[in-house]
């Protein structure tokens, strides 16, 4: 029997890579949580995208977000997407300012569509963004792999950890 909250796997990049994959995820937990601390090989407009059971493709993802970049807060909706992106990825600045993302994936092995809550914390000493997002994967298939993707490479040292959470 797994513990209530335990680490399933950690991936710290020893060299730059365009994606990080957690595969063969057991169905023994209730929820999943991913914590990603990412830097990038160059400025990117799309970092930390999350897809399930394969690389980003198709149109089964959608999300609603609320975020602020130091002035007025903003909200937006994206439907029919190939993946869920964190709340705001437009300010990622190369490999010196780490971005911090969390992804809570509910009932990942259940029979309903899969819903995700994400947070982003990105501060670049004068600019940045923080926000929350709810995402949907319109599939009743159990999640067995999670793929984090960047439009440019994740830099060396980027770390992603996958946790399993088990209810009573």
């Amino acid at each position: 029997m797994p513990a209530t909250y335990e680490k399933i796997a950690t991936n710290t990049l020893g060299s730059a890579a365009s994606s990080i994959t957690f595969s063969s995820i057991p169905a023994t937990y209730t929820d999943l949580r991913i914590v990603l601390t990412a830097t990038y090989s160059a400025t990117t407009s799309s970092g930390g995208q999350l897809s399930f059971n394969g690389a980003p493709s198709g149109t089964l993802f959608s999300y609603t977000r609320l975020y602020g970049q130091g002035t007025s807060p903003t909200t937006s909706i994206n439907s029919n997407q190939p993946a869920i992106t964190p709340a705001d990825t437009s300010w990622t600045l190369g490999n010196t300012m780490p971005d911090f993302y969390t992804y809570d994936i509910f009932s990942y092995a259940g029979s309903t569509f899969k819903t995700v809550l994400t947070t982003n914390s990105q501060d670049y000493n004068g600019s940045g963004s923080t926000g929350i997002k709810v995402g949907l994967w319109r599939s009743t298939t159990a999640i067995t792999s999670c793929v984090l993707t960047a439009s440019v490479n994740f830099a060396t040292g980027t770390t992603a950890t996958l946790y399993g959470i088990l209810k009573a």
Binding site: T64, L66, T112, T115
Partner: protein
């Protein structure tokens, strides 16, 4: 409205754990009750967390919420704030003298597309203190591919008693059988 009482002893039985984050109890909606109750909560943790997926039997196609009461207090002893986005408008609101706290947008109504649930992570800080009022934070939301709601909620219970019971109520209707609520304790 009938309530489902799910005490800790009745609903516990999860994995033994030696970590700082432990499962206390969980409950599933019945389709005929508007309330999930976690009772006899031990005071042995520092904080509590509830993780939920929820849908109610209201036949409309919209979001709904989880209303939260502590120690069965139905008085107007709650305060709450909300920061909300729906893809078009950002809203910030607050209210005093409320009869519950709210995890706004944490559920979907049953007229929504099948299999879509609202979700929430609700944290109760220092819940066992006997000298402090009790503060709650919730991140909640739901998305239906083309519309959605994301919410950051805070709540305050103006009472210094230790929290021993948490009730989770629908806005309207009952919790569906696809709804699950899990209570965790976090050690300090």
């Amino acid at each position: 409205m009938p309530s489902t009482i799910l005490g800790i002893i009745a609903s516990s039985g999860g994995a033994a754990s030696t970590s700082s984050y432990e499962s206390i109890a969980s409950a599933t909606g019945t389709g005929s009750s508007n309330t999930i109750t976690f009772s006899s909560i031990p005071s042995t943790y520092k904080h509590l967390q509830i993780r939920s997926i929820a849908r109610d039997t209201n036949t409309n196609n919209d979001f709904s919420s989880i209303r939260i009461r502590l120690n069965s207090d139905t008085g107007t002893n709650y305060v709450r704030h909300l920061l909300a986005g729906d893809g078009t408008t950002v809203t910030a609101t607050g209210a005093t003298a409320q009869s519950s706290m709210i995890a706004n947008g944490a559920a979907r109504q049953n007229g929504s597309t099948a299999n879509i649930m609202g979700v929430s992570i609700i944290d109760f800080i220092d819940y066992a203190s006997t000298t402090k009022n009790k503060t709650m934070k919730a991140i909640s939301g739901n998305d239906v591919n083309g519309s959605g709601f994301i919410r950051l909620n805070s709540g305050l219970w103006l009472n210094t008693n230790a929290v021993t019971t948490i009730e989770l109520l629908t806005d309207a209707g009952f919790w569906t059988t696809a709804s699950t609520f899990a209570l965790y304790g976090i050690k300090g």
